[in-house]
Symmetry: C2
Amino acid sequence: MTEAEAQHDGTGRVELSFTVRDRERATHRQVRVPPGVTVFDSASWNGIAIDSTCGGHGTCHKCRVRIDERCPTTPHDLKTFSREQLDAGWRLACLVNATRDLEVEIPPLTTRPKAATVGVGRQVILRPAIQKRYVELAEPTLADQRTDLARFLDAIDDLEPAPDLAVLRRLPPVLREADFKATAVVVGETLIDVEPGDTTREQYAIAFDLGTTTVVATLLDVTTGTPVAVASALNRQQPYGGDVITRISATMLDPQALDRLRAAACETLAALAGEVCGEGGVDPARVYEVAVAGNATMTALVLGIDPEPLGVAPFVMSAAQPPDVLASEVGLALHPRARATFFPALGAYVGGDVVAGMLASGMDRDKRTRLFIDVGTNCEIVVSDGDRILATAAPAGPAFEGGVIRCGMRAADGAIEVVRLGDDVELGVIGDVEPRGLCGSGLVDAAAELVRTGLLDRSGRFVSDDVAKEVAPSLADRLRMLEQQRVFVLHRPTPDAEPEDCVVLTQRDVRELQFAKAAISTGWTLLLEELGLHQDDVQQVLLAGSFGSYLSAAAAVRIGLVPALPLLRIVAAGNVAGEGAKMALLSVRERAGAQALLGEVTYVELSDRPDFNDRFVDQLAF
Amino acid sequence: MTEAEAQHDGTGRVELSFTVRDRERATHRQVRVPPGVTVFDSASWNGIAIDSTCGGHGTCHKCRVRIDERCPTTPHDLKTFSREQLDAGWRLACLVNATRDLEVEIPPLTTRPKAATVGVGRQVILRPAIQKRYVELAEPTLADQRTDLARFLDAIDDLEPAPDLAVLRRLPPVLREADFKATAVVVGETLIDVEPGDTTREQYAIAFDLGTTTVVATLLDVTTGTPVAVASALNRQQPYGGDVITRISATMLDPQALDRLRAAACETLAALAGEVCGEGGVDPARVYEVAVAGNATMTALVLGIDPEPLGVAPFVMSAAQPPDVLASEVGLALHPRARATFFPALGAYVGGDVVAGMLASGMDRDKRTRLFIDVGTNCEIVVSDGDRILATAAPAGPAFEGGVIRCGMRAADGAIEVVRLGDDVELGVIGDVEPRGLCGSGLVDAAAELVRTGLLDRSGRFVSDDVAKEVAPSLADRLRMLEQQRVFVLHRPTPDAEPEDCVVLTQRDVRELQFAKAAISTGWTLLLEELGLHQDDVQQVLLAGSFGSYLSAAAAVRIGLVPALPLLRIVAAGNVAGEGAKMALLSVRERAGAQALLGEVTYVELSDRPDFNDRFVDQLAF
């Protein structure tokens, strides 16, 4: 043990240099991880495969690597290696904590690990929490009176799960009825069931993106990593309000509301679970785990935790990481002892959905300076310089959800999502139908185009009719008055329709958008400053959420929602929360990575900063 | 790491030499423990105190001892000690596994540990699984947005429990209503509740001895180790049969019986819990844990596990160690998240009650050769030579429970428990009332006295009237005929009462007793042989169970139920199962000791041995 290790203060990263051997050659990879992570996880998180079936519990004795002889030995090492091998530095990778820079040699793999591509191009080596093992046992005799449990677990050499009481009830009859041929169902560290015969082909899980507005369920075959079915539905909590604040308020006004909101969320999840199982032709009793990525309020509500302290300053959560619970606890009728796991949250407004998004986008595994923006009613912003990661939340207001925008609507059929202003107005409409309103990306696009053509000045005010005729003569007649404010007519159902019958952008809409974009850009400006960075230093911007996928990079840059970067650096990342939930189900190591983010990410509270308002005003201009 | 360690094969014992310093002087103690046990547990199990508040989780950093510099260091050691101290061999005792002989220096204690005397003179250092911590917290602010859970746990420096979901629901309202002054309730590794204000004085647990016939509950104050109230009751499963075999048969005949037997056991426990809480003036919601010591069948039934495989060869249990469950799972209305813990079993007929008894009698911590006999319908026998421990079960039959004995009865008021034959018959009767029958110890006593006086010959046959008049003239008229067999009249309600109205010992009773004692003595004879010992080598015999307390040592020796030893070596150990349950509640280290017995004790199946029947016949004679 060196002095450097002893004094390690827990911050910073350690560097691991992997030499990966296969039959023909050796390749080299260097990775940086937080100190204390195991060598096995360090490799897995970076897509480097090491043999293992037990998943890092020291039980399968397969993850053999060569480090150096100074590395402490564990009793498992002593059982696995000869004295010569130990002296040569061979150790089990899952039991070595990387507390200093290490050089690690990985021998050729004996089995090619299965992997799946999920998230933002992340290659995930499959190691789900769900594991099955089929065994054929010798029947007990007077000379072999091992307990049913011991007989069963002795036949499984790479796992040592603890049994549920329910399993102890089922073991005696199931083993005897099935001639001692049965399948162990393990989730995490727990033996949740024993099934007669060989059921190893059926191993399913459901990933939930539990959004305030929309809930998405993906049924996964965890043996292959393949999605079997996907379904989405509106969150049945909608009647209690469109955003988290109105739902929190509901619980403050009515003591029954928490139970009702909880029930509504549970019903939403249950309906979707039924839908994906039906569509995939999967018996719900063969679904053994679900992962839920939701913001802090959605997570609290579905677990029956009073969200009031989330809604009032100083915005405090009950806990960052909810414990795993039975899936039945959140209303799901799957396997009776199926587990539900939840993503941890960094703060009341940087919730498990964002942590899932960070996982899916690899925010902690990339050396580039990256900016992650999840745009919604509440906008979450994360910046990483490849070493430190900062996160914050910006109260964007409902502009991006279409809430207070006159012709605003969700990104559904009929929503204008693209606006081009030339001699005339060109619109991109979801579903290619008659335009009915304006979704968030259409709103940004419209404002950006109006600024570009000079119909909106940089302060966000519509120009006078005289100026309009000068800068954009063919569009000037679309500037009209409606209810004492100036509006721009984007779509007329008929050539002579009155403004009140048209899809318009109002002066007040523009002001809402300005406030939202100012909040967001103030957020990332302050985070970049905190890291000593300029916006030009940002190498990639990830726009997340369904909104992010619709938003054109050019429009986002033009109105200053994102830094002014070459457009190729701005990437729509899609539903990263749902992708993160899938990753958690496909790999316990990725799940551990999500938890590690809690220690790696610094949450910055913006509302506490004295300079926030000044900066906000600076950012109001387009 | 030395060669000796690396090659340790996990058997045998390692020797620890403790030097215990206090302010004035140093004392020395040598103890032997199974390899791999921590230094901290090794000391605790032998009544040697080391400072600690966290109970061996490396979190309180108080259990400082000096070993030697070769001892591996852990990250906790690095945080606790200076480089000079590490080089001088200082380590945290709870994190050092004794894998070789060690010399350990214990510095003077900073706090005197509380201890209680339980079991067979066992001094137990209090370290219950139940722990409370009262904290007064700073209220959250925008500058300190820690979650409620983090704020709460940060204030508790020596424990790191995981929260129940229920606690996450209760934390926000309880902390806010109680001005952030509250008490953590921890059981084992779990934070089960947060209580407003300071409730640290109220910490209760209930130890249950769940017998086939009688159930005993002891309410314990775990802060002092003091019993607050004790109550006992008949097991409400009695209507399904007097012994485990009839109850197992009931479940095989009627598919409803398992549920009913489970309910009956749960009701028995619940009624007793209510009784001890009422008597002790303790709010049941302040009882946070129960421990249950029962035989394998009683444990299976109360947990709803089908006992059928226990009742038919090859006598296989579902599992040796049931998982901890909520106390509500066994019908107890205590704290809603109170835990129930069960003793592990060594075999279908050497159950958790025997393991609890071994714990209470320190079978694994004594260098003497000891024989432990729990006499009942099923008789469990354990032999230790101070190194190896063997256990077996002997089917004693119902003789000792009064089942098939003509005038047999349980050891209750009116039962003859002592018999002395001189010129007349002298009887010791429980409750000092008119004799109504004969309990197990009275049965043994009567037979032994009849053999001594020559009225029974060594083969177990009543002598002829002629011989009787010769060997015991004043008693010969008590030898009578009743229903075609010879009987000895022990008690006549009136001088001229007919035999059928008297308390008698019949020839058939004597045969039952012979079979029982033959089974038992064959058991310990074979176990002693297995260890290469003769019965004279036995230094102590512990007679356990309520039967053991009533049985006179002289009578037991005389009929050969126990080895022919000086009577002082034969000790009535009392209700050791209940004492073991108390120990488990008062000390997690003792509880771990009970689990360690599973690995240390070898179960010997007698019915499988070809020489069993021969030996049995040899032992039939008195």
